[in-house]
């Protein structure tokens, strides 16, 4: 078991009252595992079923494995322009 740091932005940071989460993850855990754990937190129900996740500044697929050294972020629906 290891811990990953997840950056939160915009509406998600507001939902959790924080811009970072420390999330326990089994070794070899994937993006899907991470989402499941975060959604089980008290504010997790305010997230969509499949929020977009970025790993090392690129959008990630759900079966991508994660390492504690990865830069991980939950990406709310974007609205630039």
């Amino acid at each position: 078991m290891s811990t990953v740091t997840v950056q939160l932005f915009a509406s998600y940071a507001e939902a959790f009252g924080n811009s970072k989460l420390e999330v326990p993850l089994q070794d070899g855990g994937t993006v899907a595992d991470l989402i499941k754990t975060i959604r089980s937190l008290p504010a997790g129900s305010r997230l969509p079923d499949s929020p977009r996740v970025a790993v090392n500044r690129k959008f990630a697929v759900t079966d991508q494995p994660l390492a504690s050294s990865d830069e991980i972020a939950l990406i709310p629906p974007v609205a630039g322009g």
Binding site: S11, R57, P76, V78, G80
Partner: protein, 145 residues
């Protein structure tokens, strides 16, 4: 010349044009996005923009690389402003230069559409009635959060 930046100061359009202009180009297409004073029938007092800056700049550069492959345009710069903006202020500016107008115009259009689709930038819209709302273009209803 390619450049993509998230900035926390007013955008200087002339500086962006100067960055791409060269005598071999016969066209410079500029797109400017500004803060509108109404949205869905509500009076907007301002928009607070925020971004995941490192990823936003990386993603915008990827878009510029894709634009070069699609349109053959090598000289493109884009700046997106974050922070609190008032109606009328510039939030985003794109300048694309090429020998002829079609690639430059197609390129500017492509870049703004892709920014809206995938660059991690967010809008917290403030209304004159004192309410506020995170803008979610994927949502179909307009209920306040």
């Amino acid at each position: 010349m390619k450049g993509a930046r998230i900035v926390e100061r007013p955008i200087d359009v002339r500086q962006l044009i100067a960055a791409v202009e060269e005598h071999r180009f016969g066209a410079i297409s500029v797109f400017l996005g500004t803060v509108r004073d109404t949205n869905d029938g509500r009076d907007v007092s301002g928009i607070e923009y925020s971004a995941y800056v490192a990823m936003a700049e990386t993603e915008m550069l990827s878009i510029l690389d894709e634009a070069e492959i699609r349109f053959g345009v090598q000289s493109i710069v884009v700046e997106h402003r974050i922070g609190s903006l008032e109606p009328g202020e510039l939030s985003v500016a794109i300048a694309a230069a090429s020998a002829h107008r079609d690639p430059a115009m197609d390129c500017a259009r492509f870049v703004i559409e892709e920014i809206k689709r995938r660059v991690p930038i967010w809008k917290l819209e403030h209304y004159k009635d004192g309410t506020r709302e995170w803008i979610d273009p994927t949502r179909t209803d307009t209920a306040a959060v």
